[in-house]
């Protein structure tokens, strides 16, 4: 099951407030308006196809935004569809893993969906390598590092997620099927670093060269030619070994 090829590009879902530190940052506000209660189900959002950027690609930042937020995460690419699965078997539905840079415009309220903050063209760096479950092992033992212009700015400890990779798949698949090729991000750390035009962002997982280093440079939006959709999207085929993710359309 784990070596099921990823034949189709699917929908990319991110999750808010999954890390314990991010939760702790928000805990005091959770019972206040407009939230009025802590979230029970996973708080999901979609990173649409127009947001996908390949490793190495420049990511356009709108002139109105002095800084963007860098959200390092691990993407789980679904192989066998997951519908109401148990946590005990959920990881069998993962075909492989990819690093992502979930870029956002900073936003202070989590009340309404973050489309205008998270779905700008190019706002999801993906890649460079698709690592097999065998190469990664337990995804929650990974630590991700974010470097801005070569300086370490942030570390995300995937062991500090409220829902583990397996539990997250189980809880999401309780109400919606994760289809073959769909992607679920494992969550973001708190106090995410901000970066601005001209800076180079690198994301890697400590001790996991199979995932490679995801690199993107921030440029002024106007400097980009009209970024295209993932034309001719080719998905990675999950295999026994990690390999390059060929293009923007790789997920």
């Amino acid at each position: 099951m784990n070596n099921t090829p990823v034949l189709a590009a699917g929908t990319v879902y991110g999750v808010l407030l999954n890390s314990k530190d991010e939760w702790a940052t928000w805990a005091a506000q959770m019972n206040e308006p407009p939230y009025k209660a802590a979230p029970k189900a996973p708080v999901l959002y979609v990173k649409t196809a127009n947001t996908w950027s390949a490793c190495g690609a420049a990511i356009g930042v709108p002139v109105r935004a002095p800084e963007v937020e860098i959200g390092a995460s691990l993407a789980m690419v679904i192989g066998e569809p997951a519908q109401q699965v148990n946590a005990s078997t959920a990881l069998q539905h993962v075909a492989g893993y990819v690093l992502v840079n979930d870029v956002s415009l900073p936003h202070a309220s989590y009340y309404r969906p973050p489309v205008k903050y998270k779905n700008l063209d190019g706002f999801l760096g993906i890649g460079p390598r698709f690592a097999s479950p065998a190469a990664v092992g337990d995804p929650n033992r990974l630590r991700l590092e974010v470097r801005v212009d070569g300086r370490l700015q942030h570390t995300v400890d995937l062991a500090q997620m409220r829902r583990s990779a397996a539990q997250l798949i189980a809880d999401v698949s309780e109400f919606m099927t994760l289809r073959h090729g769909d992607v679920l991000l494992l969550g973001l750390g708190a106090q995410r670093p901000q970066a601005r035009v001209g800076q180079r962002i690198e994301i890697s997982a400590i001790g996991m060269p199979a995932l490679g280093t995801l690199t993107n440079t921030l440029v002024e939006d106007a400097a980009l030619s009209d970024a295209g959709p993932p034309q001719g999207a080719k998905a990675p085929s999950g295999g026994s070994a990690a390999h390059e993710v060929a293009s923007v359309g790789a997920l």
Binding site: A41, N50, Y111, R112, V115, M176, A227, G249
Partner: protein
């Protein structure tokens, strides 16, 4: 022209409406009830963006005790929640309030980035009807409306037809209505949208590229009621179509 996508005789077909029947791409004429209706959308090689508006009719906003938004309240759905005409939608066990939402759905026809309102209609392939079900029991105030309410399997019927833009001279002048088991429960008019279709295209394309086949579900007027297993819900938009759906248990 009215386009459909159907499963028939072991394969999936593009079809068009022809005097009350379906003409398949291979020329065969078949009856409406001889096919399985799929969402009337051509496949796309990347995941379709499905934008959906909340509170885009002033009366519905009032019904839900919200003041009208100052900018579009938009959320995104996954393609996997779409199903076709005459299909069944699941009401989860143990919930108190599940309601339909009859919505004009815009299907994008060509890549749209930084489109001006005056040009917006050039980027639309056509229109169809969406029923954007919500299960209010699951509402939480985090990225609301949250996906557990709005992105469930079977909960976004779409169809039956994709009607070409040329056949809908003014999408802002269409009556909408919903019946539950034959009784009218919702009636409204697209002229009452807070943010009209050209505005929405200009607004979204100002920061995100819309691609062919992407959808904008433009929100629903007031008149929502709870739906129970066995209920037959017909969401209809003048000149676009009548989308039939039946509620079932899990």
């Amino acid at each position: 022209m009215k386009h459909a996508r159907v499963a028939y005789d072991g394969a999936i077909h593009d079809a068009t409406e022809h005097h009350g029947r379906l003409r398949l791409a291979d020329g065969r004429l078949v009856d409406f009830d001889a096919v399985t209706w799929l969402p009337p959308l051509a496949p796309v090689p990347w995941p379709r963006t499905v934008l959906a508006l909340g509170l885009n009719y002033a009366d519905h906003a009032k019904e839900l005790a919200f003041k009208a938004p100052e900018e579009p309240l938009v959320f995104i759905k996954g393609e996997a929640s779409l199903i076709g005409h005459r299909a069944h939608t699941v009401r989860p066990a143990g919930v108190d309030y599940m309601h339909y939402e009859c919505e004009l759905a815009v299907v994008i026809g060509k890549r749209a980035k930084h489109v001006k309102r005056a040009d917006a209609y050039d980027y639309i392939a056509g229109y169809t009807v969406a029923n954007d079900y919500a299960i209010r029991d699951y509402l939480e105030n985090w990225y609301r409306p949250n996906l557990r309410v709005k992105n469930r399997d079977t909960c976004t019927p779409l169809g039956p037809w994709l009607v070409d833009t040329a056949d809908v001279p003014n999408p802002m002048a269409l009556a909408l209505s919903t019946t539950v088991n034959g009784k009218v429960t919702q009636s409204g008019h697209t002229r009452d949208m807070i943010f009209d279709v050209p505005y929405l295209i200009e607004h979204f394309s100002s920061y995100m590229t819309l691609n062919p086949g992407d959808l904008i579900l433009t929100g629903t007027p007031d008149g929502i009621v709870d739906c129970q297993p066995g209920d037959v819900i017909v969401t209809e938009i003048e000149g676009i179509g009548a989308l039939v759906n039946t509620i079932r248990t899990p």
